[in-house]
């Protein structure tokens, strides 16, 4: 089950906590992986750790041209067309709306949502030709529930879900699936920044009583990437310890 041998994958934001786990999991299941991130050194460390079938393709997703060229770069490194796109990279610029600068909104939408559009678009031609493909967007629970201080981030994540549902309908007949995974609170450098009171408060809202791990998200991604998930499209898998049941 969920064997990815012979498949190729591009994972953006691979230097982050969740992205790194996704990369490791897809790789462990047999996929060749192209890993993108802004921190070149961290990418190289991860690539070295994975060994064969892993390639670094650094990219700054706030740059439109660089982003549109990324899939091509990944395919060149992988030596084959791209089977699986995991759009995982994301940034936050939190703040109450009353204090949020136009730029904070734009930057988050650009990096989180518009890059998803650019990446998915540049995969399309090859996937249409091969009549197969997996596009997986890593969104967030806050894209569905909202979160004060994150109007920009929540909008970008909700946008990914709407985008995925629309694209899923466009290309379903070509055996290309488009799905999202929506993590709840996952232990990461981002959640490490929360103080104890915030953490206690968060945990009280999670029936599972603990934060999730990157591997929990990676497992959902591995499923969606697999042949077995061929009939699953336009969906969002919520992996959140029961924090929100949708």
């Amino acid at each position: 089950m969920f064997d990815l041998s012979g498949k190729t994958a591009l994972v953006t934001g691979a230097t982050g906590g969740i992205g790194g786990e996704i990369a490791k999991t897809l790789h462990a299941r047999g996929a060749s992986v192209a890993l993108s991130g802004t921190r070149k050194e961290k990418l190289d460390v991860l690539v070295e750790e994975l060994g064969e079938r892993a390639f670094a393709v650094p990219c700054n997703l706030s740059d439109a041209e660089e982003t549109s060229a990324l899939v091509g770069k990944a395919e060149e490194a992988l030596g084959a067309g791209l089977d699986i796109l995991v759009a995982n990279a994301g940034i936050t610029r939190d703040g109450l709306l009353m204090r949020m600068k136009e730029e904070d909104f734009e930057t988050v939408l650009n990096v989180n949502l518009q890059s998803y559009f650019r990446l998915a678009k540049s995969c399309m031609r090859g996937m249409m030709k091969r009549k197969s493909g997996r596009i997986i967007g890593i969104t967030s629970i806050v894209g569905v529930t909202g979160n004060p201080g994150q109007t920009n981030y929540a909008a970008s994540k909700a946008g990914m879900i709407g985008f995925s549902k629309s694209l899923a309908q466009e290309v379903a007949s070509r055996n290309i699936t488009v799905n999202c995974v929506a993590p709840g609170f996952i232990a990461s450098p981002m959640t490490d920044e929360l103080n104890e009171a915030q953490k206690t408060h968060i945990l009280s809202s999670i029936p599972a009583g603990k934060l999730g791990e990157g591997a929990d998200i990676a497992a959902a991604v591995a499923y969606l990437a697999s042949n077995e998930a061929g009939y699953m499209t336009g969906q969002t898998l919520h992996v959140n310890g029961g924090m929100a049941m949708l």
């Binding site: 031609r125 249409m128 070509r174």
Partner: protein, 77 residues
């Protein structure tokens, strides 16, 4: 020109799975040949490959019939 017509027809017959005698120059892809919008994109991709040309998005929108495709391709190859 005759060669382009034949190659275009062959692609259309294969891609849209239609009878060859329906693929006349006046036939429109969507109304007459039953293509959906995604089929159109695929057809254009197939033309690009067959004739080793690039068909820009603005032009794609104007290619509605077999004749349109033949005309554009003939101008390019």
């Amino acid at each position: 020109m005759a060669d382009v017509i034949e190659r275009v027809k062959k692609i259309v017959v294969e891609r849209l799975e239609v009878e060859a005698d329906k693929v006349v120059e006046a036939a429109t892809f969507q109304e007459d040949l039953g293509a959906d919008s995604l089929d159109l994109v695929e057809l254009v991709m197939a033309f690009e490959e067959e004739f080793a040309i690039e068909i820009p998005d603005e032009v794609q929108e104007q290619i509605n019939s077999v004749g349109d495709a033949v005309k554009f391709i003939t101008e390019r190859v």
